[in-house]
């Protein structure tokens, strides 16, 4: 062991440790700390053990029922927007031009919604949907459709979903387009030679070649929609009633509305855990899908 010991390396690593400690570890530990205690303000804390967690996971309590209601609502929302955005994104990607100036034009137009700040998106749709001054709300009401996202649950949901589709389908489309562009021409030529129909080209070539980007798209869209806060909060404020109150909106209500730090902390940790688990599942699926492609046995 004649390796020189160089302690200077610590000076290089230390800043990272400090930044991570202050930006992630300490805030998280504070939340953990809150989740096991109760406070009545004035910085007085009382030990509560796993009390908040028990309450949170028991649907018969007020906290539990609110958590589960918003959780199912949120999962339903994610399922709906995935069911719309993924097929729609694929269709948009397939109908995009493959070369020429139109590609650039399409890319710019598709990227526009992605570049708008989230609360601006919310504000746009909030005004757009108003029955008195909004173009959409005014027109719908004038052609005889009774549309009011403030008072009608269905209208509120429809508005939030359409807004999300408008905002994020581009992302799925762009990812799919990148996947499609990476398919060598020889595949299409071979399919022509083999007499494949348009549908067979899609199922035998395009979809399999896109499946990795699609997994990424589904992961991104699921995580984003599961954590959605800004847009529905700006448009509906979680209403009417609690009908569009998603988990993050519920969390903010408990933490900042009621100032129940213990309950909010317990909810945050469980919320966080769900997201980490989902990420882990996706990651495992994706790496396995990648391993599938490596040739391991030859037929010589």
């Amino acid at each position: 062991m004649d390796k020189t010991v160089n302690q200077k390396a610590w000076f290089l690593v230390l800043p990272v440790f400090l930044i991570v400690a202050f930006s992630a570890v300490l805030p998280l530990m504070t939340v953990v700390n809150y989740s096991f205690q109760d406070t009545f303000g004035n910085n007085q804390f009382f030990w509560n053990g796993v009390g908040w967690f028990k309450e949170l996971l028991d649907p018969s309590t007020d906290l539990g029922s609110r958590f589960f209601a918003s959780l199912w609502r949120n999962l339903f929302f994610s399922a709906v927007i995935l069911a719309i955005e993924v097929p729609l994104g694929i269709v948009v990607a397939l109908s995009m031009p493959r070369e020429g100036w139109r590609v650039a034009a399409c890319l710019v137009i598709l990227a526009l919604p992605l570049l708008i700040p989230w609360n601006v998106v919310g504000t746009i749709w909030q005004i757009f949907g108003r029955p008195d001054i909004g173009l959409l709300g005014y027109v719908l009401n004038n052609i005889g459709i009774d549309y009011n996202y403030v008072s009608n649950e269905f209208d509120a949901w429809a508005t939030v979903i359409v807004m999300d589709v408008w905002h994020w389908t581009s992302l799925v489309a762009l990812l799919c387009y990148a996947g499609l562009k990476s398919i060598p021409d020889a595949y299409y030529q071979a399919a022509q030679i083999d007499g494949a129909s348009r549908w067979a080209v899609f199922t035998a070539i395009q979809l399999p070649k896109m499946n990795r980007v699609l997994l990424i798209a589904v992961l991104l869209r699921f995580m984003d929609s599961f954590m959605i806060y800004t847009e529905p909060f700006v448009v509906t404020g979680g209403g009417p009633g609690n009908s569009t109150t998603f988990v993050s909106i519920e969390l903010v209500k408990i933490a900042l509305g009621q100032f129940d730090l213990g309950k909010a902390a317990a909810l945050s940790l469980v919320y966080n855990l769900i997201i980490i688990i989902v990420c882990w599942v996706f990651y495992t699926v994706m790496t396995n899908a990648g391993a599938d492609r490596k040739p391991n046995q030859g037929a010589a």
């Binding site: 020889a186 030529q189 007499g195 035998a204």
Partner: protein, 361 residues
Amino acid sequence: MARIDLVDLAHSYAGNDADPESFALKPISMTWRQGGAYALLGPSGCGKTTLLNLISGIVTPSRGKILFDGVDVTSFSTRKRNISQVFQFPVIYDTMTVGQNLAFPLKNRGVAGPEIAARVAEIAELLDLTPYLDRKATRLTADAKQKISLGRGLVRSDVAAVLFDEPLTVIDPELKWELRSKLKALHRALDLTMIYVTHDQTEALTFADTVVVMHDGRVVQSGTPEELFDKPAHTFVGYFIGSPGMNIVPAEVRGREARIGGHVIALSRGYDKLPAGAAIEVGVRPEFVSVAPPAPGLLAANIERIDDLGRVRFARVRVGDAKLAARVPPGFSIPDSSAGLVFDAARVHVYADSRLVEGVL
């Protein structure tokens, strides 16, 4: 199964108005007979893949017509032309098994189930793919994938022609020989018109009955391997085919004599009417020139090195500014590097502006 006629066929990727010299394929007219085994041979970028894609319909020609058995198919889609083509790099359908991959072209054309199964079994047997039929095609090596591509190209028995676009590029050298002889055997067994694009002369000469040599968008010669070897129609053919390539040396030719750097070589044919102003060269394959000890009647040469190719040895010699290759007879030895060259008069050809001039016997 069809005879393929190309009538004034030409193609430019820049459109029909492009400069004729820039065409990827300059106008050609030729016939590919039914059941022939053809090789399209030429260096990269000579237009051979363009010609192949024109025949299969992947590319629509700027000019001219393509006839299958006399029917004009120029405007037909690839599907309608009923052609099969194998590409340079393996194309396999990821989600399918090897068997499903092979069945795909038949299934798309609505062939009956039992017939598909029989065809797939037959082709799999020919290509040694039978043990892998139920495997996912994605999990195989590049070799095996290319075999699947070949199999898909051959699985239809009713095609007008099977086109191969350098199909053995990704295959190991050892397997190349095996697959090439297999293709040759398949050609005999199936009576299909096959066109094989390659830049490898060995591949072309062993596979084909007729080799079509292309250079710079033009077909410079089409003939049997023997014809290409014995009587190259263009200096490019002489140089491109054969290893080492033909010796091409500028010369003055008059009657039955060629003068190289002041030395006269006898020719077995007479060349009285050579085009005026053309660049005249003589070409002779290294196999028909041999080195000998220097003697007054021989063209003096300087040996630079001797390459031993196993069964034969070739000397690289210099005559003035020109470099030539010549056969070294067994047991040949000289004290220094100066030698004389002995020409086989009957094998010396004369070229005017790179094109063969027929002599008079």
